[in-house]
Amino acid sequence: MLGMSDMMHMASATLAQAGYPEAMSTPALAHYLFLSAVLFVIGIVGFVTRRNLIIMFLCTELMFQAAGLALIAFSRFHLHHTGQTFVIFVLTIAAAEAALALALVVLLFRKKDSLSGEEWREMQG
């Protein structure tokens, strides 16, 4: 049985023979940054436009992961590990926020039987 990495390796070797030098190597830094910027913007826009608390939380999570992607890309670009170390800590914080967010969402659901942030309108200016 061939593992996935073996297949990737074979594909890469074949392509190299076919005249695609370093075909499996990483795309340029700009690609990663573009993707991470797109993720970040999706996160912000989603956060502002949606009212479902779980979706809103996922959007903030998307922003975190966008930052993580940028960090790893930069880490590779600068050829040192600092960015990757940063990502580990980002993941930790994201997990802590997930625990909190789920607790708050469960609270809302038990009280109002709904996931919409609009249900919370106790205080007005």
């Binding site: 392509l15 075909a23 700009a30 580990i88 930790t92 802590a96």
Partner: protein, 132 residues
């Protein structure tokens, strides 16, 4: 950045295309082959919801006990802890032998594990591990 994107060598995405192609083929082949080869029987027991071999009783939208949530939180704690153990474990063998460096590193990870023990102790007193 857009200018860079315009000059992208599209062919370099070929491996990605191959990968996607393999994934799709695998999924479609499975469905099609089981339709073709497998025996087709129908009955009431086949129509019921799958619940790991148990009889599905009641509605799926049943409210779960909060304890499941607490267990999930404790899982998250250990889950995240492991992330930090891996980089530590890969670095530890590369430390210079015969120096006090190793002790310092051991001290650091022990302190880190100690914080987890505090969290565990807290969970224990909070009654997370009491199943009654």
């Amino acid at each position: 950045m857009l200018a860079t994107l315009a000059t992208v060598d599209v062919k370099s995405y070929l491996p990605l295309g191959i990968l996607i192609g393999m994934a799709v083929t695998f999924a479609v082949a499975n469905v099609v082959m089981s339709k073709m080869i497998g025996p087709s029987r129908d009955g009431p027991s086949k129509g019921i919801a799958y619940e790991s071999g148990m009889n599905p009783v009641g509605t799926a939208r049943k409210r779960f006990n909060v304890r499941f949530y607490l267990i999930a939180m404790v899982f998250l704690l250990f889950d995240i802890e492991v992330i930090f153990l891996y980089p530590w474990a890969t670095t530890f063998p590369n430390l210079e032998a015969g120096t006090s460096e190793g002790l310092v590193w051991l001290g650091r990870i022990l302190f880190f594990l100690l914080t987890t023990i505090v969290a565990y102790l807290y969970g224990f007193r909070k009654g997370v591990f009491r199943f009654d």
